[in-house]
């Protein structure tokens, strides 16, 4: 059996990147193993838990259900792209202030999913936030502090945009 790797050119967190992958490899695997971006987590590999949430051309997707070659020519945003050194994204800052995490394994997925929410809808209601984030599972926090953090980030981002 000859295995031919595919050469993929893509944009990851604003930087042009290229990588080699197998045709059957998931984008989650390529990010974590090929590119060393291990902040995106695998919780189920079936698209049910949200731990591998990324943005693909701005759209929220579970990276475990996207094939790596599908990233060709597209823009990928992962948790590593949200902060720059100590400069945190407002969502990260609010997760910190509210202690909206415990073990942290679902957290990158929640923050990326919440970013997708606020990108699409800067002023979501609490209900909208709870239902948007219903695709992300957390077993530690009971969700309350996560919801508070996202709503708080939304109102702060709105103020700073004025």
């Amino acid at each position: 059996m000859t295995v031919t790797k595919l050469h993929i050119e893509t944009t990851i967190n604003g930087e042009p990147r290229e990588f080699l992958c197998d045709s059957h490899e998931t984008l989650l695997s390529a990010l974590r193993n090929g590119l060393g971006l291990t902040g995106t987590k695998e919780g189920c590999a079936t698209g049910d838990c949200g731990a591998c949430s990324i943005l693909l051309d701005g759209r929220l997707v579970p990276a475990c259900l996207v094939l790596a070659p599908e990233a060709q020519g597209r823009a990928v945003t992962t948790i590593e792209g949200l902060s720059s050194g100590d400069a945190l994204h407002p969502l990260q800052q609010k997760f910190l202030e509210h202690a909206a995490l415990q073990c942290g394994v679902c957290t990158p997925g929640f923050i990326v999913a919440a970013k997708a929410l606020l990108d699409a809808k800067p002023n979501p209601s609490e209900d909208e936030t709870r239902y948007w984030l219903a695709g992300n599972l957390c077993r530690c926090t009971g969700y309350d502090k996560i919801i508070r953090a996202v709503l708080d980030a939304a109102s702060e981002m709105k103020e700073s945009a004025i």
Partner: protein, 784 residues
């Protein structure tokens, strides 16, 4: 505002030290570990609940390019030893638990073979190419049937499905209590099987250094130290050549409080193949092959007087252990017996526990471990007794509380509760819930034809595990504190936090006690080469037991520093005063010495008093003299939709007393997360095996975890009753939410359905189950 030395950190909502690395995606969990030449293991698991294994053909799998090894039980079991159970139960019948199956499989998910390859995709293809001849056998799935004679056997070689019969009894004579009773209230209660489902499944990386003969095992575990104690007996690597590392661990809830076959297997593979080996559990494997929780069924009898006085409780409970004994499997139901009387004065108790083998995954410690079962039982029974006798359920509870002055309070189960003010927590919860208004709202809702209910539970639990005499492998904890030459502080703990935030809370109280800034403290844990001894994280023991070891270290360091300061002041230690990080000798000298100068003197060691060792480091083993007993009251209001059976939680009030709080943010998080587990248990979750032993809840589409939209807003309060057991006065909070919440929510749903005459529903109270109850009752209404 910058922190200054002397402003206490304890009691403040400090941001968690752990969080910056976690929110940036920079933390290293087991699956994030990359080693040169890493091989990947994938395990073939049984699709049958019970079967004889015939021929296993691995030739096609071995022929796949990239496959390094394909091994079965015959290849590895002799070298991997038996999976241990540490629970000491008299007359326990135990099957031999090998790392891979021998000639039979005993549950769906039982590991049969392992493939190792250069790539995880290739290893997965390899297990698909293994050909196993299974000869299916009858599966044992109903524990109540399994105890009868003539039924199929889970383990034919044991001759019975009964692993043990154990009686927890105490107080006055139970038969006399029932003779004196005006009435005996009977109720059957089941605690369904649950799947812990941490979002990070299990995973192991093993690496062997053949030159040094040392093995390093990174594993997603709560118990690196217990593994270092127990694995040497399995894999033959001496304890002092075994390093176990719990890196960032993505949730445990008891599921990672265990010694699993894969940990020994990966260690063996790394040595056998002379290459590092990684195994990452899939979600389906996690549902099938990581321990489950709960699963008890019991008939409960309560002896009562007409005035509501409860004289005694007796029960025979069947506990479904699954097919094998994991680390603590048989001990968990006995914890239920230990706290069955809850926070009540009940003079006599007898619980007979029958532990039963079935062809399912083993049960073991899951958040609360035996205590949620007890609290659910006693709190449901209090409501049932109150209803049957026509007594107010709150009055019934108050009638049986010990008074605060009666602590330490000896229970008929044989425990001594350390401290408590159950009345105080109940009063505060009723205030926060606006109890009288809740009752009015319920009356108004009912008058309008709506199904509205209020539930309450008052609970006590066993924490800070625990005194070594009561623990299978010692219940002490170890710690080390080092004031470095730079006056930075390194704290090393033997507990192994995985979300509980002890890097933060330990730094808070160490900073206060040493008079240093929190940012100058680092808390290390989870690596047996760094934290040499420990008994790890479970049973709400981290801060109460682990923190107490750190307090002992601080006291030793301060005492030594005073001796050194006295020498520098040219006086004696009894003249030295230590406050806010500064040493003084009032009346002797105006000179002040801070940690930087003192630490320098201690390590440069040119001017030490005679007999004083250089350095400023202390380590300690702390042995708790008793458990601690946190308590509280949870109040829940629900509304049930008549048309759909959907339960909406309209108010959730929790008042928990865990003693003094180091960081209220972290305490809140623990309580909220615990309540969410209970919302899952009462409304959604159940691990289901069908009559053939097939697991029907094998992934997240089938096993219903609560989601953000299912969770109400919480109203949290607390009372503070310090524990006299440990120097921090802390009781522990890791399991409180899960213990208090389940009966409160269940009681609320049944209160809502009470006008229809529904007196009982089994958990989980899913919309379908609730709707069926409503439909049955409204079709044939009970007489007024």
């Amino acid at each position: 505002m910058a922190d200054t030395i002397g402003t206490p950190y304890v009691g403040r909502a400090m941001k968690r030290v752990e969080d910056p690395r976690l929110i940036k995606g920079l933390a290293t969990y087991v699956d994030d570990i990359r080693l040169p030449g890493l091989l990947h293991a994938v395990i073939l698991r049984s699709p049958h609940a019970h079967a004889r294994i015939g021929r296993v053909d691995v030739s096609a799998a071995r022929a796949i390019p990239g496959v390094v090894a394909v091994l079965t039980g015959a290849d590895v079991n002799a070298a991997c030893g038996l999976v241990p159970c540490a629970a000491a139960i008299p007359d326990l019948k135990a099957p031999k638990h090998t790392v891979l199956a021998g000639d039979r499989v005993y549950f769906v998910g039982h590991a049969v073979a392992v493939a190792v390859a250069t790539d995880p995709y290739i290893a997965r293809d390899a297990i698909d190419a293994i050909d196993v001849d299974y000869d299916p056998l009858p599966a044992v799935t109903n524990p109540e049937e399994a105890v009868k004679s003539g039924t199929p056997l889970t383990h034919p070689d044991l001759g019975s499905n009964i692993a043990y019969t154990h009686v927890v009894a105490g107080g006055s004579d139970i038969d006399e209590a029932f003779r004196r009773a005006d009435r005996v209230v009977k109720h059957r209660l089941c605690h369904q099987r649950l799947t812990p489902m941490p979002i990070e499944p299990r995973g192991v990386v093993a690496s062997y250094d053949p030159g040094e003969g040392t093995l390093t095992l990174w594993t997603a575990t709560q118990i690196p130290h217990l593994l270092r104690t127990l694995l040497p007996g399995m894999i033959g690597v001496p304890e002092n050549k075994l390093r176990v590392v719990a890196p960032e661990v993505g949730g445990g809830f008891g599921a990672k409080l265990n010694v699993y076959p894969e940990e020994a297997l990966c260690a063996h593979l790394a040595m056998r193949l002379n290459a590092p080996v990684k195994w990452i559990e899939s979600r389906r494997e996690n549902a099938a092959s990581t321990i489950h929780g709960r699963d008890q069924i019991g008939e409960y009898e309560v002896a009562v007087k007409k005035d509501g006085a409860i004289l005694g409780i007796r029960t025979r409970t069947v506990a479904d252990l699954g097919s094998y004994l994991q680390l603590l499997t048989p001990a968990i139901p006995t914890l239920t017996g230990l706290v069955l009387t809850g926070c009540y004065r009940i003079p006599a108790v007898k619980m007979e526990i029958v532990g039963v083998y079935t062809n399912k995954m083993a049960t073991d410690a899951y958040r609360g471990a035996g205590r949620p079962e007890a609290t659910y039982l006693i709190e449901r029974l209090m409501d049932v007794v109150a209803r049957e006798l026509g007594i107010d359920r709150v009055d019934l509870r108050l009638k049986h509380f010990p008074a605060p002055a009666e602590f330490p309070f000896a229970t008929s189960c044989g425990l001594t509760y350390d401290s408590g003010n159950y009345q105080g927590a109940l009063t505060k919860a009723r205030q926060l819930a606006n109890w009288d208004q809740l009752l009015k709202d319920r009356a108004a809702a009912r008058a309008a034809g709506r199904l509205s209910g209020i539930g309450i539970s008052t609970y006590v639990e066993i924490c800070a595990m625990g005194p070594s005499k009561a623990m299978p492998a010692g219940g002490w904890e170890w710690g080390c504190v080092r004031m470095e030459i730079s006056a930075k502080v390194t704290v090393i703990t033997g507990v192994s936090p995985h979300g509980q935030g002890q890097e933060t809370t330990f730094a808070q109280f160490v900073a206060d006690r040493l008079g240093v800034l929190m940012e100058d403290i680092v808390v290390l844990h989870g690596d047996t080469n760094v934290a040499h001894y420990g008994r790890d994280t479970y049973g709400s023991r981290g801060t109460a037991v682990g923190g107490s070891a750190i307090v002992m270290c601080i006291d030793k360091i301060v005492a030594k520093a005073k001796t050194l300061a006295a020498h520098l002041f040219e006086t004696t230690a009894d003249h030295v005063v230590f406050e806010k990080g500064t040493f003084r000798a009032p009346g002797v000298t105006n000179r002040e010495i801070g940690w930087p100068e003192l630490a320098g003197e201690a390590y440069v060691a040119k001017n030490l008093p005679a007999g004083l060792e250089p350095g400023l480091e202390a380590s300690s083993f702390y042995e708790p003299q008793n458990f601690t007993f946190p308590f509280g009251t949870h109040i829940v209001a629900v509304e049930v939709d008549r048309d759909t059976g959907h339960v909406a939680i309209t108010k959730y009030v929790a008042v928990d007393d865990c003693g003094p709080q180091i960081n209220p943010l972290i305490v809140e998080g623990q309580v909220q997360g615990g309540i969410a587990h209970s919302i899952g248990q009462v409304l959604f979750e159940q691990t289901i095996y069908d009559e053939n032993g097939q697991l029907l809840t094998g992934e997240l589409m089938d096993y219903a975890l609560p989601r953000a939209a299912d969770i109400p807003e919480y109203i949290l309060g607390s009372t503070v009753t310090p524990s006299p057991v440990n120097p921090l006065g802390i009781k522990g909070v890791g399991e409180a939410g899960t213990i208090g919440a389940t009966p409160a929510i269940a009681n609320a749903v049944l209160d809502a359905l009470q006008p229809l005459g529904v007196t009982h529903l089994d958990l989980p109270m899913t919309p379908e189950r609730v709707w069926q109850a409503i439909k049955t009752r409204t079709a044939a209404p009970v007489g007024a």
